[in-house]
Amino acid sequence: MKLAFFPLFHPSSFDGKGFQGTGIDFMSAYYLTGLLPFLEKHFPDLQTCVEITLPRILLQRPDLVVIWSSTPSFEQVETVAEVIKQNLEIPILLAGPHISHLPTALPAHVDIGILGEPEIPLHQLLGIFSKDLQAGPMKYGKVPGLIYQSRGRIYSGSPAKSIQQIDQLPMPRHSLLHSLPGRSIPLVSVSRGPHSLMGLLTQPPSGRVRFFSPERTVAEIAQIAADYRQLYSKWPVPAEMLAYIFPVYIADELFLAQPERFQAICEGILAQNLHKSVFFMVNAYPSQLNPETCRWLQLINTRKIILTFPSFSTREAPWMPACSAELLTRTLDVCEQYRLGVIGNFLLNPLAETTRREMAHTYWTLWENRRRFDKLKAFYLPPMPGTPLWEQYQQQYKLKAEDLERLPWQQFDPERFTPTVPLVNRTVDAESFASIMKGFQVLAADDGGVPDQEKAPMKQDQAYQMQLQSAKALQKKYLHPGMDVLEVILDESFSLKPYLASDFCDLQQLKVEGGQLKGPAPRPVDLIILRGSLAGLREPQAALVSLSQSLKPDGQMLISLLNAQNIAFILSALNWSLERSSYPYKLLRYYSENTARELIQSAGLKILDLEYTIMNNIQGFRDSVEGLLKRFETFWPLAVSEERLYIMEISMLVKKNRK
């Protein structure tokens, strides 16, 4: 017997360059990766296939088809079922979260709907159909967990049982998703419970949350890593690169819910060296992240946290923890401390009672912190059947299945959101809500000061290694045990302190905020270090004069700054993208060697030593410099020094000019 699985996707998944593989449908289809091995284990002679387009299903000519659908794709079920029926005349089964929650929505051309977890009902159905492909309701009517058509009427049986020992389920076949581009390979460490957002949206319902054991989860990660190696076996990928290239996306929000289990999983990952084969992206709520959790996440090579949070509110949905400005800021702090990039998934409407004031408070907090997110996405959470939101909608609007077609499932479009669309929030009208959502989307579209390519794990790691090397070199050359050192800090990421042993020397810090030094230097010091912080001062000359008062008689200052005469900076200016360049938003003033020299002299300081960080070993850079200079030589006969354009950073050791 040949069984075809047909996971349906919302039409927008096929926009643009082929299949995009995004959204709820994709995660819902992930369920099949576990279901297929389960069925094949029990029916060794069963032939299976998974196809995502209707022509491919027809081409496969299966004996039985299972359509898998979540709510966004559900409106297509009727159409595809009709076409399959007309062409193949085979039994059509329907499974997935939508039909499980709304059994009465069973379309006319579908013979059987499977309610809830499909393993046990499907196992029994295959037992019947393998003996008789023409079997009718008389034979399968008593199988628990079904709803079916018979003589124009819909019948339902008793509820099906759930699998109790989920660790005994065969390992998911992740390679099924390798043919679907667009997403990292997901892993769900908790199975089919009603109390996680992912469970509510993408998995068929079951009675209670069941966690996979740590051993089972680690084994699944090991399998994903092995799959990657197999899949890319013909690619010359060096072993040390694997941990930057192959992602494992922990898709459920309960991965961190039980600290002991989470720690056991981390220990298993480390014991098997899996953190050297893959990197992790982990879903989390702000309340789940603390220094201890983040330390473990960093140890297992987690690069991104997908942080899901609703509008700030003191009320808490039973299925989602509340968030506040303080909690979010604290979470971003701890993620920064452990070098975990954060992708913010902001849900605007999970609570009916969220007020305009709370939404505005959330907006401005996100606005303040927008440059701390690798990416920020604003989501409208539609009333998915089975979720508490659906129940709220039902109480308020008495929605029917056909009403769902009007709801924005994939992408919220404020221009198309009309006042007739039901809105669960009771404090704003639909029109105001649309403009609020638009505001959040504009905010979310702002990528901040760091280009996408620099958010990639390898780039981030390179930046960290460069910082580390630079700090070590600085320590070796300029610092001695017992020295009194003052570090003027514009951005924590430039701070030397994390790289030095705490007892090496007495290192004080002075921050630059709002363009000014935040207070005087605490006491005379041997060395003042300004790594990039000069550029954050509105009145640099006055600040240097003030700082030089804090030097001991033979004290020195080490000033390092980015060279504005560098080719990357010049190209940014030419492309009118200076403010979007990798130079952080905190920088207020820019310098080249000439202008820095003038500034230092005007502040009564003398340059003792000068160092350059030169980058001329990248072909692209050399091409840019040569191309630019050629243009200038042709049309503007003024000599420009080529060497200067390669200087990335300038370091100057200075002391007070006694004259």
Binding site: A573, N575, L578
Partner: protein
């Protein structure tokens, strides 16, 4: 060059002032010509500098700009080379926005950092600050056409129109670079961005019921001012 620019820009702004602009709030450099014009017509012209000279330093640590002014009062917010001097330009406009009437307009005048003169300065002198222009001594922020539009978007003003002030320098080189870099603004010294307050912008004055009114679409067919050149 910049004396002439200031003079011509003031004249241009004067021509853009409409009879309904009776109450003008101005932030940034002084604009004596406009001030005289408004006051001679019996209107009101308030320079933020005269009320609170700390407007440049508004930031996350210092988020408020106390001004002894009535809210929802002014017809026009004139931002005259102020954004370049402000540590946090978005917050500055947000703070001033509350003094604007629901239908109030905004004129933002800002230097274009991508002008050819900045590129030449960069190459020859290395970002040397000057007495005026994009690299003026007091400047800490730098803008392009794109970033000005985005700023308006983020602080609750709808873009209506723009006027450019053009100065040709090294025309052949500029043309070449424009083509290579696909940058049409290399000869544009500054922009006047014209916008209108969006009343439905949902994140400001959210306790005020009047903010719940339906969004007012800008009249895109409003008179399009010509370039000074």
């Amino acid at each position: 060059m910049y004396d002439q620019y200031r003079q011509q820009m003031a004249e241009k702004l004067k021509s853009l002032i409409k009879p309904e602009h009776q109450r003008v709030l101005c932030v940034g450099d002084p604009l004596a010509l406009i001030q005289t014009q408004i006051q001679e017509q019996g209107g009101e012209f308030v320079l933020v500098e005269s009320l609170n000279p700390n407007w440049r330093d508004i930031s996350r640590d210092q988020p408020k700009l106390p001004l002894d002014l009535p809210e929802k009062h002014f017809d026009l917010l004139l931002v005259y080379h102020a954004l370049e001097q402000a540590i946090d330009p978005e917050r500055l406009i947000l703070e001033l926005r509350k003094y604007m009437q629901p239908e109030g307009q905004i004129y933002i005048v800002a230097y274009n950092v991508g002008h050819i003169s900045t590129i030449i300065n960069l190459l020859t002198e290395g970002w040397a600050y000057q007495d005026d222009g994009a690299l003026r001594h007091s400047h800490v922020r730098y803008f392009s056409n794109e970033s000005l539009r985005k700023l308006m978007d983020q602080v609750g003003f709808e873009f209506v129109d723009e006027v450019v002030y053009q100065i040709q320098q090294l025309p052949v080189l500029t043309r070449q670079l424009s083509q290579i870099m696909k940058n049409p603004y290399l000869s544009i010294l500054s922009f006047i961005m014209i916008g209108r307050k969006i009343n439905s912008f949902p994140f400001i004055d959210f306790e005020d019921d009047s903010e719940k009114e339906a969004p007012v679409k800008a009249d895109k067919k409003s008179e399009s001012p010509a370039s000074p050149n």
